[in-house]
């Protein structure tokens, strides 16, 4: 059987990339809600990316 690199890595990279504009939006936010909601969203994306980065098959 042909060996493949971990198929989870691109998903992890996808999460990291999606977190980038959310992190920037924290600083663009003009309200307190804008800060914490974008912060949570970015954090969740980064955690998902980290979890999948460590995935093996």
């Amino acid at each position: 059987m042909q060996a493949h690199p971990s198929p989870y890595l691109p998903i992890a990279v996808g999460f990291y990339l999606l977190a980038v504009p959310l992190v920037i939006a924290i600083f663009l936010a003009d309200s307190a809600a804008g800060g914490w909601t974008n912060g949570i969203a970015a954090a969740v994306m980064l955690v998902c990316g980290r979890l999948l980065q460590g995935g093996r098959r």
Partner: protein, 614 residues
């Protein structure tokens, strides 16, 4: 401010949207080379999916772009209990998890239709397989494609004002088709995972902001009473219908019949469609079952509450949505509330609470929900057309295509393009977004029981399935087209839709039972091979007697079904009740769910012991 006021996306939100599309496409395309190696990779990810990926992919596919709008609209027009319209499918979903997911994985088929070749024999089986490949691959999936595209068209008009909906949707479809055709199932699943996290995150944060705007959960409950009155408040918040009326009678019929009778895409009795495709793509039987269970939990317990909360908050923040939903068309016109109808408008109306950045994420999550449904529909349709139509045809002709795996993938990619073109045509033909669903559900009502029984009763044959489908179609013609559902509803005093459903199911059941008993059973060699490969429990009489294989315990699997159903319903209602500050009911439901979970654990242990002794 009124019901049609649009929320404007900032430049940064638009940037997020474009960034999302670029990332999704990039992730999908990464898998193109791998998908191009052979059909097992293209349609089944090389049977290497872990439970979390396959379960997440199923749940991402199951909700289309308009699902949050529909659920919030249900809450506004009929209260939380109106969700029983889809909650009833939970009984069938857990049945698939515990009775059939392992069997599907053991069958090692590429599509649900391929099972026909393993389970039945003769000309009737060949005809059934070819018919289903065309019916599911072209007709049903084109209708699904058309349905979700039409719904997305409406969403584009509301969420992205200023964009030409036709051009915007055309561009989105072209991009989705591009990476779906190239990337195969791994690309579909990988983008599904990204899209599901975005969609849930966006919904949860919108719900949190909505509750904050209302003044907290306690204020939400109190203010609902102020808007709707004490009786209205009880009706809005109750998780079961509060009075006996036509809706409640309809719910009872749905709970008793709908989930085992109707071939509803994503909730097929005994498993079907993309649920089977994901289970077939699992690493092994345990991953297939665990992934399917994760899907059921995420679909029924985690997913709906943010949408429900947003719907309730919309009632408080803009009571005219609620008022409009209580009136008929003439009443809405007289009261000047037409702009606040249908109640599905309330969900996007709440986007005005979203800050820069998060608004882009939520808007992108709508694209994500749409794209995840479309990608799966295209890949699945192509799998039917290639695996169940093209390859059997090529085999009969002795074609060299059977030896050329890359040629097969090229055919599969062509099939994806074909289905997308047909789906686009259907979406223009559909007069209203609801037509497609109603047609599919009614036309197949009554065929579901055969799809369940084929796993547990040796006597079911290809003729049974054919008779069930023909019986449904004939009954559908008389009941729906000739208007006998109205006559029956008047005669019985029940709701027309559900009484009509019962009549179709009855007609179909009579047809397949008679056809099964008067025709010959499937041949011994086919049944023996199927039994040895799949080891199904149940009523296999002479087949089990001839075999040395030890079958699954149907009794234990049925107990697992009961335990898991109680577990998921308990968690669903417990979480909801706690969110709405009904602490006593919430704790009681959670306690029931925990008890069911302990029972399930004991059953798992018993299953492991039985497997070890095998």
């Amino acid at each position: 401010m009124n019901g049609t006021d649009a929320v404007t996306l900032s430049g940064w939100d638009w940037a997020f949207l474009l960034w999302f599309l670029a990332v999704t496409t990039g992730v999908g395309l990464y898998y193109a080379k791998r998908a191009g190696s052979n059909l097992q990779e293209y349609f089944l990810s090389g049977r290497s999916l872990p439970w979390w990926a396959l379960g997440t992919s199923i749940v991402a596919t199951t909700f289309a772009a308009d699902t949050p709008l529909v659920v919030a609209g249900f809450v506004i027009s009929g209260g939380i209990a109106k969700n029983w319209i889809w909650w009833n499918f939970l009984f069938g979903a857990t049945l698939t998890v515990f009775l059939f997911s392992k069997l599907w994985r053991r069958a090692a088929v590429v599509t649900e239709i391929e099972l026909i070749d393993l389970r039945y024999d003769g000309a009737s089986a060949r005809a059934l397989r070819a018919f289903k490949a065309v019916f599911l691959g072209l007709v049903v999936n084109s209708i699904i494609f058309g349905f979700v595209t039409r719904a997305m068209l409406s969403i584009v008009e509301v969420v992205f004002p200023g964009l030409d909906p036709g051009i915007a949707l055309g561009g989105l479809l072209a991009l989705t088709l591009f990476y779906t055709a190239l990337s195969g199932l791994w690309g579909v699943v990988a983008t599904d995972v990204l899209q599901f996290v975005m969609a849930v995150l966006g919904a949860v944060l919108l719900a949190a902001l909505a509750v904050s705007e209302v003044g907290g959960l306690g204020a939400l409950v109190d203010k609902l009473g102020a808007v709707a009155g004490p009786e209205g408040q009880e009706r809005l918040l109750s998780i079961v219908p509060t009075s006996w009326d036509a809706f409640t009678a309809g719910v009872v019929i749905l709970v008793l019949v709908n989930w085992w009778a109707v071939y509803y895409p994503g909730a097929e009795p005994g498993g079907g469609g993309y649920v089977v495709q994901r289970m077939s793509a699992a690493l092994d039987e345990q991953h297939a079952r665990a992934g399917n269970l994760w899907f059921v939990f995420a679909h029924y317990v985690l997913r709906p509450w943010p949408w429900v909360i947003v719907g309730l908050c919309a009632i408080v923040l803009e009571p005219r949505f609620f008022e409009a939903a209580q009136l008929d068309e003439a009443g809405r016109e007289a009261a000047g509330l037409t702009e606040f109808h249908p109640p599905e408008k309330a969900y996007p109306w709440m986007f005005r609470l979203l800050p820069v950045g998060l608004l882009g994420l939520v808007a992108a999550s709508f694209l994500a929900a749409f794209m995840s449904t479309i990608t799966t529909t295209l890949n699945l349709s192509a799998s039917y057309l290639v695996n169940d139509l093209y390859l059997p045809f090529a085999a009969r002709r002795g074609s060299s295509a059977l030896q050329d795996e890359k040629q097969q993938v090229r055919v599969a990619r062509g099939a994806v393009v074909l289905v997308s073109v047909l789906g686009a045509v259907v979406s223009w033909i559909l007069v209203s977004a609801g037509d497609g669903w109603v047609f599919i559900m009614d036309l197949t009502a009554g065929s579901g029981l055969v799809l369940i029984l084929r796993w547990v009763w040796w006597r079911i044959s290809a003729v049974s399935e054919i008779a069930a489908m023909l019986g449904s179609a004939v009954a559908f013609f008389f009941v729906r087209m000739e208007g006998y559902d109205a006559v029956l509803a008047e005669w019985t005093g029940g709701p027309k839709d559900q009484v009509g459903l019962l009549a179709i199911v009855l007609g179909s059941t009579l047809a397949w039972v008679v056809a099964t008993l008067v025709t010959r059973p499937t041949g011994d060699s086919t049944l023996d091979a199927f039994f040895a490969r799949v080891r199904p429990g149940g009523f296999w009489g002479p087949v089990a007697q001839r075999s040395a294989v030890r079958a699954e315990s149907l009794g234990r699997d049925l107990r697992m079904w009961v335990a898991s159903t109680v577990l998921v319903f308990g968690a669903l209602f417990g979480l909801g009740s706690l969110l709405l500050l009904d602490t006593a009911v919430g704790m009681a439901c959670i306690a029931v769910a925990l008890g069911a979970g302990c029972w399930l654990r004991q059953l798992f242990a018993a299953e492991r012991e039985a497997e070890a002794a095998r």
